[in-house]
Symmetry: none
Subunit: 312 residues, 5 copies
């Protein structure tokens, strides 16, 4: 398929990046059910590492098997599958070339108390496994945040020099932030800004809540007349914070929830200009048929929003 | 001897690994009394470093001599002998080629209070000593866990690039974990998952207890109807957590105990699908004849379970 | 599109290669008009460097512009475009992701008298430009052949370690070879064998002539009852020499010639089991419409042969 | 335009630096509206990272877009635009060569509680982006100050070896300093001295307040008869502290304030011998026309002061 | 001065290059008397090394002094001064920032008989000296050509990674080439093509003569109806060979000659679409006033041609 106009538009935001980065970006944007629309649908499966195997896979035990997720990603025709080293190693050969891969290169787990992540994979690993992108989590606000930024900086620079796309999971936490503040609209937007400043090509954030955490943002938003009552408006603000919408921002689904709640949230994200969804537990913790149906429906919402935008 | 069907089946789990890794893996799986069954029986002798010489070898003073263990491993026809640098150096020449070797490349001791390990050997050492594998311990949960993961990542990547098998000893401890929690079934499974995500080919864990440590796992397991009353079921869960059983998981014997208790435990491990045993103190702290008998009996249990499985 | 059965069959020939190599191989095999058939149609444009600009592009002056060839490759839906560094640099950004690229990393020219090539690009260049493969020419027989083999070996090893496909242009010449001998069937087969031995994933050769150059091959072929009267049989022998047909071998078109002669040659190549065509001057020296028609026709021949084989 | 006498005078202060550093310094000093006067007018846009996106850009939402600031810098004909990696990457290609760039290579944010900065970019990044200078913030007094000095030292040394100008943002804070003390005249001067000692070519400080923080400075200034009532005198003291005025010192504007207050402050800075202004929020938080007018007026003040000095 | 439309047009040819390369390219194109027209006027002074001091400078002994040439370049407002390491070192500090510099990084001399050049400077030297570009000579056709290409490849890759422009002096000679053939139109075009394929941003060639050296080109040009009687047409062909005119090609002046002959030649070059002149001996071997007049006149011819082209 020819590179479509919406994808060429997205690629134009990344002028100055190496051609290889753009080629991999176009690979993600042209693949699968959302291919060509400028929207992304990503299946992330790092929960076994981050939350533990039973908490992640007991609801649908087929998910203990990495191959299950490769096949789910292929059958649902998502844009990409994102996972840690060991997981990707367990399927990259068998399913070579079948779905774009994002190597999640740092990881934390739920057993410790230090807010940090370990670097668990390298750019060389990503190349050997045939990945199109490499991903890192940052915790803006935490006491280890600057070390994390420096690790991500080094990895991102090497990734770009080798033509890989860089994805940053921006999860503010720790420091002066309240628990509620972790998903406050100003804080999520701040996380997106930091990810963009660190050079992310794709930014993953959580859907922002209406709460405003910091006094500075409270004042500025009030003066500017922001109304954050609706998720759509909050998403639009996060997009603003990502270089006026010229960085791809995808939104996570969070803990498993009611089906209609998922669709309502995705609709608001799409209406606010979000570039896609990255949904793990809400899909793979359901039976395969339901997961496929849900991914299809989420994709349809994003595709519809993309078409509306292009038409307007 | 031809590579047997059970071993070919195991090797197929590691598609995408370099041929040299598979060759060394088949070396471990085809050697000794369990050779060809897809099961492993490993003799680990790092206790002198980890617990101190008297605590380890006073019950059977012949064990102060590394050569004793080489000869025990050879005579018992175990799959491999695993030990630290100095120990292997003391026998690798004299017994060159007689038994596959696993270089245990990081070590802790009982004198300090920091939950961490030192890197005590390199991939180059392993190659120079003629080892088939290199092994690392991780302490998921501890405050140093992320540093440990990063050290293991670096070592494992180099090992694989040189065709060596990577073994990870997954011992959760520290952080928010209670002492009892260190062997809780959810925590042992979590440790196995992390080891698999870090790219281990073989994972060593402790036999899991019925206790569930984390609230998340408690909820998920209850909802899914897990019954962890029997060790067999707990072992099966740990296997699930190791990529749906497609990573080799071997179980340690723990502190020396009653002979029949050892066999009962091994039988449950084998029945749960465990891929073998890694038994040190329970054997080498007994007189040589008893140790040989015990290793033979443990091997027989695993061989029997393997045959049953193949037949079914 | 799902990876098709013929492509999975081809990928199975390369077991033991890193997953990234297979992913890039599947990219070449799944792209464009021959996508999914297990056959390749490659547009090579290194003639400006190798033969000079006027000799290459004067017949169709649009071809002086690298962008012309990118667009020809895209519009003809070939499997890949192969060209030197400067040429790819002139279009890799503008056409990022639109067609798989092969970086031709060594080059000779027609001005000198030494039979050798210069390394003109690196694996890093290939990654920065978003290429799926890197290509090298070897001149088996020439006085510099062993230096060339060593350069190719180094480049190929680095390429594979970074997940790139390796293409070798095997052009025997120099040394004891007569000019006619350069395309003798035994010599072309010998060149294919050497390329396979050097680790090529894809081998490019010239259509072999009926002439047998070496006395040894003459005797052996006679004894074995080979009949090289027809091109189809000669192609089949070259395939045999490429690891019993388990390395992809594509055949060049040579100097521009009569249209029907081109198709007849391609039909014989396809009938003999050749995996595709790599046709430059015969296409780009013709007007664009004729070139598109010709590439379409060549593709159709290969697709037809592939279907016939699968059906049988 | 020929290098002017005031610029040659400034360059003479940096004898012993590599020619490339001087060439880049002259680029900054010869460019834009203040070009040739020996004065600098710099537009810094790191507030999105340092203070958060809403706090920085909500007052003038056009500023969420990095391109807005590039165009503001070009249209206002400032000496240089200073910003973090991600921001510069978003415009360096599109506006290549249009305005000198300063890569702000370390950054903090407002979410955490640790007074430190992360290294977010390298000298290689600065060269790839076509920057003339690289900039670092130091926090003299903070608990992490020595680590920061060492990071800056390493970056500065590499920058100079590659012909780049080094800018240091000297912001004393933390340790024994009171909040008021951070802008005390003795402390600002001390910060300038440390920046000069670390090898800065250009030093950025805040306008110093009349407060004297340290007892030692209090005594010494009293004895020497300093009168710090007027900003002009305080600026003159900061200049003294910057190697007797032979290091370029530019003054920030701080939080947005009343227009006339800005001009009065700049006039005092110019009268005190300050080498220019680095004004972000006071300009880009206003509508574009007002920002352009303000930058023009600030430039005019500095140009006027420069002419007066030259004439005297 | 704003980047002009003709310069933006030229920069657009180099999409995919790093922003720093474009910034330095715009520096060359925006500087001096031809600044903004898309044309270049370069003063090369490597003749002392290449031809010897007396042969180069005796006609105008002021030229023995490197400073003379810096001042000539500055006063004539050329686009850039190109010279070897020692020469640039002798003026880069004194004239820092006054004129863009091109470090000529390999050199030959007239004393030896081997057609080769020595690498005499590095990318690091260029950065330390504040250069905008680095230059290399290649001798396509010579027995050492492939070694030269490999040296240039390595230098060019490093230069681009550091944001420097790469200039290649393409001087075919040696091998099968006759002396007349060195400036044959097909050979000059071939040299330009090779320089472009090696990744040159700016290519320097000699004005091509009407002679056609190679049989292949003879046939192709005849068939295509080329008429090479006039220099203008020959220049146009060389431009074609430089990626359809999308690489900057500048023409040397050759040995000193009659003033009007110089202007006539430059007029033909400009009419044929040449992007500028690189004139050494014809200027600096004349008295300073005559040199300045000549450089002004050459610039005027190129500026006029540029204006005519833009208008049409």
């Amino acid at each position: 398929m020819r590179i479509t106009a919406p994808v060429l538009e997205v690629l134009s935001w990344y002028d100055g990046e190496r051609p290889g980065v753009k080629a991999n970006l176009s690979r993600l944007l042209m693949h699968g059910i959302t291919g060509g629309t400028g929207r992304l649908l990503i299946l992330p499966v790092d929960q076994g590492f981050e939350h533990g195997p039973a908490a992640s896979f007991a609801p649908n035990p087929a998910g203990y098997d990495p191959r299950y997720h490769f096949e789910l990603a292929i059958d649902a025709e998502v844009s990409a599958l994102a996972a840690p080293l060991g997981f990707l190693t367990a399927g990259a050969d068998r399913y070579a070339g079948a779905v774009p891969l994002i190597l999640k290169a740092n990881n934390a787990n739920g057993l410790g108390s230090v807010k940090d992540e370990a670097i668990t994979a390298t750019v060389r690993d990503a190349l050997e496994l045939g990945c199109s992108a490499i991903g890192y989590t940052i915790y803006p606000g935490s006491d280890r945040q600057y070390d994390m930024f420096e690790e991500v900086r080094a990895g991102a620079a090497e990734a770009k020099a080798n033509g890989l796309v860089v994805v940053i999971w921006a999860y503010p936490r720790g420091g002066a932030l309240s628990h509620e503040g972790e998903t406050a609209v100003d804080v999520v937007a701040y996380g997106a800004q930091i990810a963009a400043q660190l050079g992310a090509h794709i930014i993953k954030v959580k859907p922002p809540a209406a709460h405003i955490e910091t006094a500075q943002a409270q004042l500025a938003c009030q003066a500017a007349g922001y109304d954050f009552a609706r998720l759509e408006a909050r998403v639009a603000h996060v997009l603003e914070a990502a270089f006026a919408g010229r960085r791809l921002v995808v939104f996570s689904g969070g803990p498993a929830k009611d089906v209609e709640a998922v669709y309502a949230e995705v609709s608001a994200i799409a209406a606010g200009g979000g570039h896609g969804s990255i949904v793990g537990r809400n899909t793979f913790q359901r039976p395969r048929d339901e997961a496929l149906a849900m991914l299809g429906r989420i994709a349809a919402i994003h595709i519809g929003a993309s078409a509306t935008r292009s038409a307007s």
